[in-house]
Symmetry: C2
Subunit: 396 residues, 2 copies
């Protein structure tokens, strides 16, 4: 039989990162291409304790069908935490638990974007979200990212000239892949532009809790007096990605439609995971856990940046120092063949992600690559970055 | 701000069942409207044992990111079980783990249905799937369901006359809501028609393992020599719905696109749940567990049908006896006002689901309602059905 595929998936491809993962599965390869939390960051003992307690005291609730909106005590815990810690959430907003933050991107797109409508995003940006937008046939419009956020002039032009712009997608803290944090000044400016053009902001914040130095910059959602921001949070980096737990806090009208879409997508999110997260937030010292995570990642990030200073910078590869998150964005000198550099790195058994994978059009020119420091061990980091340095010395 | 919603969600509504659930939450109400497995059907002790073992021996794997396709040992266990038990799966097929069977419906629709394309389904059919199809702006074409499956003449006409039919959606065993099992003869006929018209069959089989008497009828997928059937299975009724675990076995070309869509939808399914299911299938006596479930449901179904014979049948409400599944379809006499009957039942604190909720067009006439016997206790069943009988005596 000749299979007929929908127009929206005909051109969809697995992400380039996934293809690279195939090499990374070879145990002799040093993978700097993943985005996994450090294994030592998982609160294994507490999760086992909580899980045991739930399956002893309340097994039926953890195994039975639940409501699409999410486990009410978890919704309450997140709502209170976000309000108190970040001033996020108003009486016009509603909270929805999602199966990872990824599902929030999917549900918001499904609820607000017609085929052919435009989504504005940072260039580069997170592939998973871009693919989610693409899967609804959204037209992607990338705005060049500077060291303090989107280029405002380009954003303004896009908002003026693009048709049917539905939202601006921003990872404002320690962006994936660039590591950039959007400045408060730019956040305010972007907010005003979005408001003026009647366009929503989709604020994706998976790394916000992983700040290793400096002060938090207020979230878009914290000054959203006009109800134009949909905020998305995640438990993947602060608890466990395998649990697939995320949430959105967004205007009620949008969330109501997202709930109906979620009902048709997976009915509800795994309820055991929701119960574990709730107990972890309310019966354990969540603040101390976050501090512990920041300590782990500060150490790993600083170690990694030290290696970059030692092996790459002297060999013409520059990078933007980071204040948090899991990624560092490295830049080859102008004119260097980045894709070829990444390919040769793989031949020497080091995987990094070529930067063009994060562009709205993968065929565009890009001189950067992304490395991750949370997944590899210190030994692997040193080995991998040293090899990249040797390669750079030879070919750049 | 005025929120702009996509065309596909503008007319989407929460399912009628969910609205009824709001009444059912009142503890003084007897709910015969749910579809939850009986709480005593959960293998709580085994799940707790397995979970404990996983979180002790292999916590990182249970908490870390995993692959979109599904946990390889679980894929292997399901593949072998389905092949051995039901002769399902060929070398041209691939297996994908989904976040509940519901997600398989979503992914198949996303991968194969353009907006405005047609999906043929049984009338009545499962609301969750219909809403999933609707959420991609599919046009639904309902084929009247008879006691042994779809009306073949109507199906043939639909396949001839409808444009861009993408698949035929069938719950062939103990259908929700009707309880009907499609006969082998009709399965063969439907398969031939689908093949002739180059249309896929989406075979949804959440209840197949819950046969309480008689012999299994071969699945469409078991004689799918032409690669036109996508089979969907679920762990919701045989292990736990709260875990959100399902799977599809379908032609590789389709599954490959479903995987890319799943990546953008939730990255992967909760991995702890996948690991638990795998150990339960391979290290415990899965067959004995299924037998235990069938014993539970046989007893409950027979008890329920006894009550229907006692209280409803003498009061002009007929029903179709069932051989499995969780639902019984009750029919009021011609001309009776079914919606009003259900409303009056709610006032007397008994919830059933009005049959029109399961039609492709809810405004169509329907004289049936659905009752569920797996969720209520025996006492609740007796109380609820007795009240329905009293109501029937008064108003029919």
């Amino acid at each position: 039989m000749e299979y007929i595929l929908s127009e929206r998936v005909k051109t969809l491809k697995p992400s380039a990162i996934r293809e690279i993962f195939k090499y990374a599965a070879d145990p002799s390869v040093v993978s700097l291409s993943a985005g996994n939390p450090a294994p030592e960051a998982f609160p294994v003992k507490q999760i086992a304790e909580i899980s045991n307690k739930i399956l002893t005291e309340n097994p039926t609730a953890a195994l039975q069908y639940s409501v699409t909106e999410g486990y009410p005590p978890l919704k309450k815990a997140i709502w209170e935490y976000m309000k108190k810690t970040y001033n996020i959430g108003t009486e016009n907003d509603e909270l929805l638990i999602t199966s990872g933050a990824q599902q929030a991107m999917d549900l918001i797109t499904k609820s607000t974007v017609n085929e052919g409508d435009t989504v504005i995003c940072e260039a580069p940006s997170f592939i998973g979200s871009l693919n989610s937008f693409r899967s609804y046939n959204a037209r992607l419009c990338g705005i060049p990212l500077e060291n303090d956020g989107m280029n405002i002039e380009c954003l303004e032009n896009a908002l003026k000239n693009e048709k049917n712009v539905r939202f601006i997608y921003i990872i404002a803290n320690f962006q994936n892949p660039s590591g950039v944090t959007t400045s408060l000044q730019k956040r305010k400016k972007i907010y005003e532009l979005a408001k003026k053009h009647n366009v929503m902001i989709l604020e994706d914040n998976p790394y916000g809790e992983l700040r290793i130095r400096g002060n938090d910059v207020p979230a878009f959602k914290s000054f959203d007096t006009d109800g134009i921001v949909a905020y998305v949070g995640s438990f993947s980096k602060v608890l466990s990605p395998g649990m697939r737990l995320g949430f959105t806090i967004a205007p009620k009208d949008i969330v109501q439609k997202m709930i109906v879409c979620k009902q048709g997508e997976d009915v509800h999110t795994n309820i055991w995971a929701q119960m574990v997260a709730e107990k972890f937030m309310t019966e354990y010292d969540f603040g101390a856990h976050l501090k512990h995570l920041r300590d782990i990642y500060r150490k790993k990030a600083d170690f990694c940046m030290g290696l970059l200073d030692k092996y790459l910078v002297p060999n013409k590869i520059s990078y933007q120092p980071i204040d948090g998150g899991l990624f560092i964005w490295c830049r080859l000198p102008d004119g260097a063949d980045m894709v070829n550099f990444c390919r040769q790195a793989v031949q020497r058994k080091v995987c990094v992600v070529p930067g063009n994978a994060f562009l709205t059009d993968e065929s565009e020119q890009c001189s950067c690559f992304r490395i991750n420091f949370s997944t590899p061990t210190d030994e692997q980091l040193e080995k991998g970055i040293k090899i990249l340095g040797e390669l750079a010395k030879e070919v750049l």
